[in-house]
């Protein structure tokens, strides 16, 4: 099926990745998390503004053990997402406290900084030595 070409990077919307961590009485399921986050952001900002925020929860990076996750959003609306995270009081049956760990410009750097992932570039210095 024909698809539009990927836009050049200069025309693409600039994005940020917000890493977050959940503290709660028991482990939170991804399905409950996504419902809670979407309802928080929609309640707070409405449908039109949520569209501008370009909110997206990255499923692949949800760490169930450490209860950490990553959110993608527009680079001008990081504070809006942080406020929406702060306003989540319950996920499913659990009382929760969500804290943002930090913000990064690419998914690669977010993985390295906040999820402890490594790639070959991390070992280059060691090989030379």
């Amino acid at each position: 099926m024909a698809r539009p070409e990927t836009l050049p990077s200069s025309l693409r919307e600039k994005k940020r990745y917000i890493a977050f961590e959940i503290r709660s009485e028991s482990q939170v399921e991804f399905g409950d998390l996504i419902n809670a986050l979407w309802s928080s952001i929609l309640d707070l900002f409405g449908e039109i503004n949520t569209g501008r925020i370009s909110f997206w929860l990255v499923k692949d990076l949800w760490d169930k053990e450490k209860q950490k996750g990553l959110i993608k959003c527009n680079h001008n609306h990081v504070s809006e997402v942080r406020l929406a995270l702060g306003l989540v009081e319950r996920i499913g049956e659990n009382k929760v406290s969500i804290r943002s760990l930090g913000v990064s410009g690419t998914m690669k750097s977010a993985r390295k900084k906040y999820f402890g992932e490594k790639d070959l570039t991390d070992f280059q210095g060691q090989r030379k030595a």
């Binding site: 309640d43 504070s79 942080r82 009382k95």
Partner: protein, 234 residues
């Protein structure tokens, strides 16, 4: 950044302190709600005990919930020399007005609480600036409301912030957490004024520099290093 949360009347203090480990929070006021003199003494003993167990800057803070301006003055007389921060639970316009007109008050908490207006006007905002009373907004108020009511609360907070900025009064944002899971990180608290249109620098100050300065100034006062009239002993 040194984040300070100056209003957290948490029940389980030890568990709350464990939860916020590694959250970049430098100081927290595990607030005591004033009832009588004995209650304050017990609170101070408990805080001394907790202080030895944590590296966080624990601020001794008391919230007054008076029924009338006269009662507020009596309560201030009993608490001011004992705790580092004295906060007044706002809501009633009479109390809001009396609080911002008294230099012994440090923070007026949620002036818009349970009201249909911001709870402060141009005169009270000017009085707050003159008497160095800080207006405090409580994040937990947003947890307790939703829909129409939450939108009104946000509108009142925005109006109060505008008045504070116009007349030069400071404002802070606090968590107001009654249980440990209602505690929030500094950046989450900071996002509230930022979303309401405040500049980034001012929003950062509302959770870092302003609360820190109040605490430092009052500690000096309690040690007697700042005399009456604002003269500081160096």
């Amino acid at each position: 950044m040194d984040f300070y949360d100056l209003y957290a009347p948490v029940n389980e203090a030890k568990k709350a302190l464990e939860l916020i480990k590694g959250w970049n929070i430098s100081g927290i006021a595990l607030t005591h709600i004033y009832e009588d003199k004995e209650g304050i003494n017990k609170y101070l003993e408990r805080m001394d005990e907790l202080n030895s167990q944590t590296k966080l800057d624990l601020v001794r803070c008391c919230v007054l919930d008076p029924g009338s301006p006269r009662e507020l003055k009596d309560m201030l007389g009993e608490t001011r020399q004992k705790v580092e921060i004295v906060e007044v639970d706002g809501g009633s316009f009479e109390i809001n007005k009396a609080a911002v007109e008294d230099r012994r008050v440090d923070v007026l908490l949620h002036p818009e609480h349970k009201r249909k207006d911001p709870g402060i006007d141009h005169k009270t905002a000017r009085a707050a600036a003159e008497n160095e009373v800080v207006v405090g907004f409580v994040f937990h108020d947003l947890h307790q409301t939703y829909g129409k009511v939450r939108s009104h609360v946000l509108e009142h907070i925005r109006n109060s912030i505008d008045l504070c900025q116009k007349y030069g009064a400071s404002f802070i944002v606090t968590s107001g957490a009654k249980d440990k899971y209602a505690l929030r990180g500094g950046r989450e608290l900071m996002s509230l004024p930022k979303v309401l249109g405040v500049e980034k620098g001012t929003a950062i100050d509302s959770v870092t520099n302003i609360p820190k300065k109040i605490v430092q100034k009052n500690r000096k006062k309690l040690k007697g290093k700042i005399k009456k009239g604002g003269v500081e002993e160096l």
